[in-house]
Structure formats: C-alpha cells, structure tokens
C-alpha cells in the first residue's frame, strides 16, 4: 500500500461524512489489495472480479457508517467486505468453490504454487511449507469451511485447526 496522504483516522472521519475525495484516496490505496483477493477467490476470472470489486466499493461507500474502528482495523473491514462480495459472486456464477477445486486441484496445493507470478509472493511461497500455504489459501481465498478443508485434504478436523495456527505462525515469522 502507498502511504496515505492523510492519517487513517482522518480518512475514516471524512468517509463517515461521505467525502468523495477521501473515498477516491481510499480506492487508490486499497483497491490493489482487495482486487488481488477478489481475483484469487474468483479463480482469475477478470470480468467477474472487476464486477465484484465495483460492488465491494459501492458497498463500502454505502455502509461506511457501520464500520467501527473499535472492532478492528480499516483494512480488515475492507477485506471482509471484498471477500464476502467475491464469495457471493462465485456462488451466483454457480461455481461453488468445492466444484472448482474438484476440477483443478490435486491435494496438497500444487495448483496454488503454480499460479504464483509476483516476486513478493514468490519469496513468501519459497519460504513457506506447501501444506501451510495450501491451508491459508483454501481457507481465505477459496472460502472453504473447516469441514470442507478437512474433507478435501483428508485430514482430521483438529489437524486443520492446528495447521492453520502453525501456518500463520510461519507467516508471522516471514514478515517479521
């Protein structure tokens, strides 16, 4: 993300007052991150992803008063809106994540690793264990539930939970 021209709390205040130039700045600052998430969820379908990005930002504009800084960061809130919008879009397209995964995925995430094309991500991927990345990607980007992940990877439910923790601990180490 590029640094904001104004502070985040000022931006939030202006957005609550429906300030359009603040919204423009919010878009410039966060749209690449949100678009990246949406593209991943929609399996690189760019047309659907652009629609979902547009829907997300319209929702953000309309519902900004519901954002409560006390509950979490602005980024987390924006990500939740984008992620939910993209998952809804996926469902309306009749492509439930399970189906798309059945067709594309060999267990333990080979397909995830093949699609890596950006340097930052490549570095992370090379440092992470594939099974850890798979669990993060399946959960966050594919919108699978714990049960679905457990079923797909043929792992006990408890292992899914603990592996999610290990994976995020690994991620934390990489970024620190």
């Amino acid at each position: 993300m590029s640094p904001l021209k104004i502070s985040e709390s000022e931006l939030i205040l202006l957005l609550k007052q429906k300030n359009k130039s603040a919204f423009s700045e919010l878009y410039d600052n966060y749209s690449p991150a949100l678009y990246g998430v949406i593209l991943r969820i929609l399996n690189k379908d760019e047309e659907a992803a652009q629609d979902a990005l547009q829907d997300s930002f319209v929702k953000i504009w309309k519902n900004f008063e519901t954002y409560d800084p006390g509950k979490g960061t602005l980024f987390t809130w924006l990500l939740n809106v984008a992620r939910n919008t993209a998952i809804d879009k996926l469902r309306t397209l009749g492509r439930h994540p399970i189906q798309s995964l059945d067709q594309n995925v060999n267990i333990e995430g080979s397909h995830y690793s093949q699609n890596v094309d950006r340097i930052g991500l490549k570095e992370i991927v090379s440092k992470m264990k594939p099974e850890h990345r798979t669990i993060i990607d399946m959960a966050y980007f594919d919108g699978f539930t714990q049960e679905e992940i457990s079923h797909k990877l043929q792992l006990p439910l408890g292992t899914v939970k603990t592996r999610a923790r290990t994976a995020l601990i690994e991620l934390r180490k990489i970024f620190n």
Binding site: A139, K161, T162, N176
Partner: protein, 267 residues
C-alpha cells in the same frame, strides 16, 4: 480453558482465516474484547495475514474506478429522490428508525449477554483453578511439615548418644511392642509405638521409667495415625533402668496400675 490455552487452540487463526463457526466467531470477538492478550494476539495474526494479502495485490484496470464513482453518483440521485418522498410522509420513517433502534438495542443486549457468558465461564474456570492451586499449596505445606518431622525423627534415631530400648509385650498383651529412644546426655525420651491395641476412649497409655526401683511418670501418649510422626517426645528422665507402659485413666495416674502393664523393657 485458560487464556494461553485459548490462544494456542488455533481458534484465533481460524477466525482470521474466516473458517470458524458462528459460535467460535462470537467467542473470539468476546475473548478479544475481554482479554488484552487475546486482542493483541488477534491483531498480530491479522497483521501477518494482511501482509500476505498485500503480497497478492493486483492493480485493477483504471476503468473500474470511474464505474464505481458513476455507480455511487447514481445511488445518491436515487436516494435523494427517496428522501424527498420520505419528507412528504414524515410519520413512516420515524416508525422505521424506532424499529431499527430497537433491533440495534436488542442486538447489543444479545452481544453483551454472550460476552457476559464467555466472561462468566472464564471466571468460573479461574475460580476452580484458584481452588485447585490452594489445595495443592495445602498439600505441599503438609508434605513439607511431614518431611521436616521425619528429618527430626531421623536425627533422634541416628544420634550416637541415643539408646534404643525395645519394650516387649507382657502377659496382658503378648503381641505388643514399643520402642524407647533415650538420649542419656540430653535425657530426652521418645517413644515409638510399634504395636499397641487401641485403648478405650476413657483410657490412655502412660510411660514409666523405673529409677532406683521406683516408677517415675514420663507422661501419657496416644496412638497416632500413620501419617503423623512415629516418635513422640515424653518427659525427660535420668538414671532409669527399666521402661514400661501401663493403661491408665485418661490423663494418667500418679502410680502405675501394674496389672495393666502392656509392654516393658530393661536397659
């Protein structure tokens, strides 16, 4: 579950990854609200996930931004028309917002109750942990006491000045045995009851030392439970040639009841 256990359970990671059940989500939000450590952990997990997401960023085509601004402007026009309509019917929106407020209030009451429940559970858990710790402290204290006593008794027994006198059972109670540890230097007398029948409630055993042919009262004693000390300190004596135990009225007698002599032993 304690805080550490909760943090290590993976539930917060599952929350951040969006793969928890509604109950787990509720729990995570409540826990983060109640416990600063949980909140800190959650923020740290979110921060690393956000870094990962940023590594996945893709610049969207410029056309999307203008479409969004067109959409929100269209939205604004539509809503200002709607507002104009609403202004002409002032009673309806008030009723609606009243309903909205009620719902909001109801939702916050539910949230408060749920958080209260999580906090209550945690508190109950804490209470039972405190109770457990206290009972462990008590039993540790008891073990310490017993260890100290055992060491003291060992010191009495292993003292080179200590004389051991085994008092064997008499005709009254042939199976009975008791041992005297007598330090002739300090004159301290200890008795260990190896085997004596439990006395009736109104009676007590009394130890005597025979000095110059005369019985000297060395005090009464009880039969202790095995967890107590084995040795009991009696009155000190000098120049005893025989030790004997008789069964007397509770509190002891001034002279021994000789037909109630249970054990006796000579130096």
């Amino acid at each position: 579950m304690d805080i550490k256990e909760y943090i290590e359970s993976g539930k917060l990671e599952n929350y951040v990854l969006g793969i928890c059940t509604p109950e787990e989500r509720q729990e995570a939000e409540c826990m983060a609200r109640i416990f600063p450590e949980v909140r800190h952990e959650l923020e740290s997990i979110q921060a690393s996930m956000e870094q990962y997401i940023l590594a996945n960023k893709v610049e969207p085509p410029a056309s999307v931004k203008s479409k969004i601004f067109d959409a929100i402007e269209a939205e604004e026009k539509a809503s200002s028309k709607a507002e104009a309509k609403i202004l002409s019917m002032p009673s309806e929106p008030r009723a609606e917002s009243g309903m909205g407020m009620k719902l909001l209030l109801a939702a916050s009451v539910v949230l408060a109750l749920m958080c209260g429940y999580v906090a209550y559970n945690q508190q109950q858990k804490n209470k039972s942990l405190v109770a457990e710790i206290n009972s462990l402290k008590d039993s540790q204290q008891e073990l310490n006491n017993r260890f100290t006593k055992a060491n003291e008794q060992l010191a009495v027994i292993s003292n080179p000045n200590s004389t051991h006198i085994i008092m064997k059972g008499t005709a009254v109670s042939p199976q009975s045995v008791a041992t005297i540890y007598w330090n002739k230097e300090s004159k301290d007398v200890y008795i260990a009851v190896n085997s004596l029948p439990k006395p009736p409630e109104d009676k007590q055993y009394q130890l005597w030392g025979i000095v110059n042919g005369k019985p000297v009262d060395l005090g009464v004693f009880n039969i202790l439970s095995p967890s107590d000390s084995i040795l009991q300190k009696m009155k000190s004596v000098e120049g005893a040639t025989t030790f004997a135990v008789t069964l007397e009225k509770a509190g002891g007698s001034s002279t021994p009841t000789l037909d109630q002599m249970y054990v006796a032993g000579n130096i």
